[in-house]
């Protein structure tokens, strides 16, 4: 049984202009111990998807349709109190701009201890302290920094502390939303290695959200490409990177520089994300797609199956390859 099953998930935000469908009809599964990278431009719904998994949408956000099953349990049917058990106890989330995810007025060690205590009632002071120390060792922060405040940490150390905090209750799934975006490239590489190492060592599943397909390619077994609320391509990393099926994935790959490989001109994707309140009825990428056919705009795109585990939301994917 897969750890995470997301089926037909649709999430919308109430706005002054009406209901904006930020995520529409997204389905995927994730096995225990595997990692999924979600990529796409800002505004494509990846963060909304991550928050919906933990039911942490802002007050104007609603899950409109679909199902989220975690470890066999229906998360959308849970009460708020039951959800509190799931949060951090089973699913931990590292948020975007994680630099600000630590409360500035509390000591780092205390903030991690708080998570340990919240999900381990009955743990004595010494047991909590021992666990926090263990976590610090796990992510390589020296013990004596336990009593420091967040502002005394460097960016990379804060990120390590947050990873330690995410692992505090031995979650089965960690959702990491742009965890390295605010860091410089060297620290970013270290943190990515760290995440990968811990993910393998502890066998946790990972949903890694990033706008940077190169980062995702480094860390994840699976890649999901999102565009304007749709999951447009989903498959094993090597297949998606080596044989991208969706025109958007190809465009995304062509717009990023690579260190290895041939030197070539980068190709920006023309146009912009469509307005969520005014989507074309058919394929949402049709307005920017170089291979667009007249009917793409009006007819809902169908899936093309490129391999048993690799599917693409474009009926022409096989022809255009």
């Amino acid at each position: 049984m897969p750890l995470v099953v997301v089926d037909g998930l649709t999430v919308g935000y109430w706005t002054a202009g009406g209901m904006a469908p930020a995520v529409e009809d997204v389905s995927f599964t994730l096995e225990k111990g595997e990692s999924l990278g979600l990529v796409g431009e800002s505004g494509c719904g990846k963060t909304t998807l991550g928050k919906a998994l933990l039911r942490l949408l802002p007050p104007n956000g609603r899950v409109l349709a679909g199902e989220i099953r975690f470890d066999g349990e229906d998360l959308l049917a849970k009460t708020e109190a039951e959800m509190r058990e799931v949060r951090w106890g089973k699913i931990a989330m590292i948020f975007q701009a994680a630099m600000n995810a630590l409360n500035p007025v509390h000591r780092v060690g205390d903030q991690i201890a708080e998570a340990v205590r919240a999900h381990g009632p009955g743990l004595g002071r010494d047991a909590v302290r021992e666990r926090v120390l263990e976590l610090f060792r796990l992510v390589g922060i020296p013990e004596q920094r336990l009593r420091d405040y967040p502002h005394q940490y460097s960016g990379g150390m804060k990120q390590r502390a947050i990873i330690a905090m995410a692992l505090a209750c031995r979650p089965k799934l960690v959702i990491a939303d742009e965890p390295t975006t605010a860091l410089d490239v060297i620290v970013q590489a270290q943190i990515l290695d760290e995440i990968q190492r811990l993910q393998r060592k502890l066998g946790v599943s990972l949903v890694f959200i990033s706008h940077d397909i190169a980062v995702v390619a480094d860390v994840c077994h699976w890649i999901g490409v999102m565009y304007a609320g749709h999951l447009v391509e989903h498959g094993p990393r090597d297949e998606v990177l080596g044989d991208p099926g969706h025109p958007y994935t190809r465009a995304l790959l062509a717009s990023y520089p690579t260190l290895a490989g041939l030197r070539r001109a980068l190709e920006p994707i023309p146009g912009e994300l469509p307005n969520l309140l005014d989507m074309p009825p058919g394929c949402r990428f049709s307005g920017r797609c170089s291979r667009s056919r007249p009917e793409c705009r009006d007819r809902k795109p169908g899936w093309s199956v490129l391999s048993p585990s690799h599917r693409v939301l474009c009926p022409w994917a096989k022809e255009d390859r």
Partner: protein, 325 residues
């Protein structure tokens, strides 16, 4: 230690500022209309005697010399003799100051505590009826005209209902009775203090409520609040442990500022309730051209405001670990 060095540096700055205020006050008082001698002496007094009096008070010297005497006397702690009372100003101040401090510290602390707690509640139920009621009451009481509120309270609770005394700080019979214990005396003062305290509290608490509310709403948008939610913490812990300590910081600044306000509001409150404090003394001194007393009261107020701001700055360092001096 950094904190002590910072405090020392700030004290030096404050001393400099205080000197400027000292000088400005000297000039302002010399420019003010009205001749003090005319107030002090009988108009029928003959001019020669009036001159002797002027000489006694030092008012016949050139302004520059007066200024130097003024500084010298201030440094030696001699604030002069009140024209009106004929007693040393320092003694009058020492007599009135504790009354003012009692009234204002209590009202500011009470208003800050209540305002912060209610502001927290309001922000947590943003847009719902609790929030609407709290925000509306805060705005309403905050914008009320203080003398009107004070008179209304006196009329209703002291005059019509007779629950509280109309004026003063003590009942003479209690304080002249040698058998009265300190406890009965304290109760007597508290009884007199209810109405002035209530009016100052009502005027002040709205500011704290509104500042705390908007500061909380800002704080709730922070990532660490989202993280606290994701950690599965109960709402109460998120509110009191994660949001409130961060949101309370701007409230501190408000306390410093509100002290300056409460002192001029204090002049009104003390006058309306005939509370024997510095504020009322200041109003009397100004209206009677009692230079020495008015000067000393102004200086005292300046000193209190400057020191209160220093205390607020130092408290910041205690509450916010990011601030180190």
């Amino acid at each position: 230690m950094g904190l002590w060095r910072y405090a020392a540096r700030r004290l030096v700055q404050i001393a400099g500022l205080f000197y400027v205020i000292l000088t400005v006050l000297f000039i302002v008082f010399r420019l003010a209309p009205g001749d003090p001698v005319e107030r002090m002496v009988d108009p029928s007094m003959d001019p020669e005697d009036a001159e002797v009096l002027m000489a006694q008070l030092g008012l016949d010297r050139p302004v520059g010399v007066q200024y130097l005497y003024y500084l010298k006397n201030f440094v030696s702690g001699d604030m002069g003799i009140s024209f009106h009372y004929g007693e040393p100003v320092a003694e009058i101040i020492a007599d009135r100051l504790p009354n003012t401090v009692l009234l204002f510290t209590s009202s500011t602390i009470l208003a800050a505590v209540v305002g912060v707690l209610l502001g927290k509640r309001a922000s947590w139920s943003k847009g719902r009826s609790t929030d609407t009621v709290l925000t509306f009451s805060a705005l309403a009481t905050h914008t009320v005209f203080l003398p009107w509120l004070a008179l209304l309270l006196i009329w209703l609770f002291a005059y019509r209902l007779g629950w509280f005394p109309i004026t003063g700080m003590v009942s003479e019979d209690v304080w002249l009775d040698p058998g009265a214990t300190w406890w009965t005396r304290a109760v007597d003062v508290a009884h007199h203090m209810v109405l002035p305290l209530a009016s100052l509290f009502l005027i002040q608490f709205g500011t704290f409520l509104l500042v705390m509310r908007s500061s909380m709403l800002e704080t709730l948008k922070e990532d660490y609040i989202l993280t606290a939610r994701a950690k599965g913490l109960p709402e109460r812990v998120i509110r009191n442990h994660h949001a409130a300590p961060n949101a309370a910081l701007p409230v501190l600044t408000t306390i410093g500022l509100s002290l300056a306000f409460s002192i001029n509001g204090g002049a009104i409150t003390e006058t309306v309730f005939t509370w024997p404090g510095i504020g009322r003394e200041l109003v009397l001194a100004v209206s009677q051209n009692d230079y020495p007393l008015a000067q000393a009261s102004f200086l005292l107020i300046a000193a209190v405001v400057l020191l209160a701001n220093l205390v607020v700055d130092l408290l910041y360092a205690v509450l916010d670990p990011r601030i180190r001096y």
